[in-house]
């Protein structure tokens, strides 16, 4: 297979398909067994310094913040992270000094809310390295290839650009059409954490509405931590098996964390906590502010429930629910 061009980005999380299978064979149980545990146990068992991590959801939507905070609390270091429209999660993990490498599709920004002071500061001062560039479809298809157990997925994006040159892709001549085609390598994150609407004790999980890329990510991560709004009975799952987005086979830990995506959105349940995000965006303009934020909201609390109390408790949560269902007006406290 003659390679016409080769990206100079680091080939993060790629494994030979046989090695990937071998890892699955040795490490993923096929047993229907109780995998419930605390966030603390899940992170201490499955996240190691230096790991390549990936967070589910998209932007500020359906993010497992409970695991993000726990990674910070346990002071994990030298993590590489998938910047797959990773926004608040990546920003805070870089700001906290846990993540110092990223492969970037979309990072260092908060979409309409503006750019991310904390993580940009770390990149611009060389404390966080962007080891490869890609695009959102690029990441999507890295996960697709890995989920399928194949080394790459051909694609027609990333071609002709610096994004492609700084990616880990290779361009070859397609033997069917004779035209250049991009090959996107598989990505197997060492650990992924995905927040879902409901899950049974074995790890059979349902996600309401869009799956973004979590169908693929859940199936390709070497270790998968599910956080869930609620633990459902296995009978609930079996009643509507077509709703299962993630089967137990690929799951290593199940952690029940109501409101576990806060301050991010949980579709159909609660909207963004814009006040909280604005507070982070404002404080994180300086490293001192980052420390203030972390000592208050991460190191200063004993549980996710306590954290929610600090963020405004039941009154805030009820407001976020009304806001999700369009019964409160838009706000934008992060606007200058």
């Amino acid at each position: 297979m003659e390679v016409l061009k080769e990206g100079k980005g680091e080939l993060l999380g790629w494994h030979d398909p046989d090695e990937a299978r071998d890892w699955v064979l040795k490490n993923k149980s096929r047993e229907l067994k109780d995998k419930t545990m605390s966030a603390k146990e899940a992170v201490s068992r499955f996240v190691r310094d230096g790991d390549f991590i990936a967070s589910g959801g998209f932007g500020h939507i359906r993010v497992s913040m409970a695991i993000v905070y726990e990674i910070i609390r346990q002071k994990k270091r030298n993590l590489a992270m998938a910047g797959k429209t990773a926004v608040h999660d990546l920003d805070i993990l870089v700001g906290a000094g846990c993540v110092n490498r990223a492969e970037v599709a979309y990072s260092f920004g908060h979409e309409l809310r503006g750019l991310s002071p904390a993580s940009r500061r770390m990149v611009e001062s060389g404390q966080c390295k962007v080891v490869a560039e890609t695009s959102n479809a690029g990441y999507q298809w890295r996960f697709l290839a890995a989920m399928m157990g194949i080394p790459f997925i051909p694609s027609r994006n990333l071609l002709g650009t610096d994004t492609g040159s700084y990616s880990s892709c290779k361009v070859v001549k397609d033997p069917f059409s004779g035209k250049p085609i991009n090959l996107i390598p598989a990505a197997y994150p060492d650990v992924a954490f995905i927040h879902v609407h409901r899950c049974d004790i074995y790890g059979n999980a349902q996600i309401d509405a869009i799956l973004v890329e979590d169908f693929e990510l859940s199936r390709c991560a070497r270790r998968l931590i599910i956080t869930t709004e609620e633990i459902s009975d296995n009978e609930v799952i079996r009643r509507e098996p077509w709703k299962t987005a993630i089967p137990f086979l690929v799951v290593d830990a199940v952690v029940e964390v109501p409101y576990g995506s806060h301050p991010c959105e949980m579709p159909g349940m609660y909207y963004y906590d814009e006040d909280h995000i604005a507070e982070w965006l404002s404080l994180s303009k300086t490293q001192e502010g980052v420390d203030t934020y972390l000592s208050k909201f991460v190191f200063g609390v004993d549980s996710f429930d306590d954290y929610l109390e600090l963020c405004g408790g039941i009154r805030k949560l009820n407001y976020l629910k009304r806001r999700e269902f369009l019964r409160e007006p838009m706000v934008a406290p992060w606007r200058k």
Partner: protein, 259 residues
């Protein structure tokens, strides 16, 4: 500059963005202006415009401005709420008429930089990167680019980083690179005018000036030479009703359009 007594520059841009879109077509949108322009188009001349979001929302009835292209508003009463794999695959297969993106820096071939200012490995300013932009610009049949502030800093001779493909380095370059045939930038919208691309050279070419803007202003606010047509049009202006929709129905907080 447009007439500031009736509307501000950002409101005008949103209006122009909407005016470029067509009814009964699909548009794949990035955050901000592209969403607002699509919402306005749906509420005016293009009620059957189908908006596609990269995270999986297809054809929603947008109840308010989404802050993110993945949030629940993007699949509110939608036709489908699926996945990025689905949205990106349909795009690659040719089902997207318009791609619509904002940009930080652009060159004369419509190539975009949203990755870094300065060196890649230790940048002066780190920007978010491609997101779905490289994908949309690779796959959509016609790409619309919106740059809120045209200036010598945003219309540049050489990009610091080519994040997202326009016509690359000119005629046939996209096809030679392996990008889908017949695709590429279609319109560029700034606070000064509407641009297209010269058929032969694939270089940026003025189509119309916004009311009150002169050719010299366009030229001064660019590092590269902008091609001129035989006849320069004047851009249309929004009606009071269109302004009311923008201000009251789409962005009442002024998140994108300002106050």
């Amino acid at each position: 500059m447009p007439r500031e007594d009736r509307y501000n520059s950002r409101e005008f841009l949103a209006f122009i963005g909407a005016s470029v879109l067509e009814d009964k077509k699909t548009v794949f949108v990035g955050t901000g202006f592209p969403i607002i322009a699509s919402m306005l188009a749906q509420k005016t001349h293009a009620p059957k415009l189908v908006v596609v979001f990269e995270a999986g929302g297809l054809g929603p009835l947008l109840p308010e401005l989404p802050v993110s292209v993945g949030e629940s508003r993007t699949f509110h009463k939608a036709i489908a709420a699926s996945s990025m794999h689905d949205a990106m695959s349909l795009s690659q297969a040719g089902y997207i008429d318009f791609g619509f993106l904002g940009a930080a820096q652009m060159d004369m071939f419509g190539n975009i930089n949203t990755t870094v200012i300065g060196e890649h490995d230790l940048p002066k300013s780190r920007l978010p990167g491609s997101g779905g932009a490289n994908d949309v610009a690779s796959f959509a049949q016609r790409l619309i680019i919106i740059i809120a502030k045209q200036s010598k800093r945003t219309f540049v001779s050489k990009l610091d980083f080519l994040t997202t493909p326009g016509f690359l380095d000119g005629p046939n370059a996209r096809e030679k690179a392996g990008l889908p045939k017949g695709t590429g930038p279609y319109r560029v919208i700034t606070q000064l005018g509407i641009y297209g691309f010269d058929e032969r050279t694939k270089r940026l070419k003025l189509i119309s000036l916004h009311p009150g803007v002169g050719v010299d202003e366009v030229m001064e606010n660019s590092q590269f030479e902008i091609m001129l047509p035989d006849k320069i049009e004047t851009s249309p202006e929004p009606t009071d009703e269109e302004l009311r929709i923008l201000r009251q129905e789409i962005d009442p907080v002024g998140i994108v359009l300002g106050k």
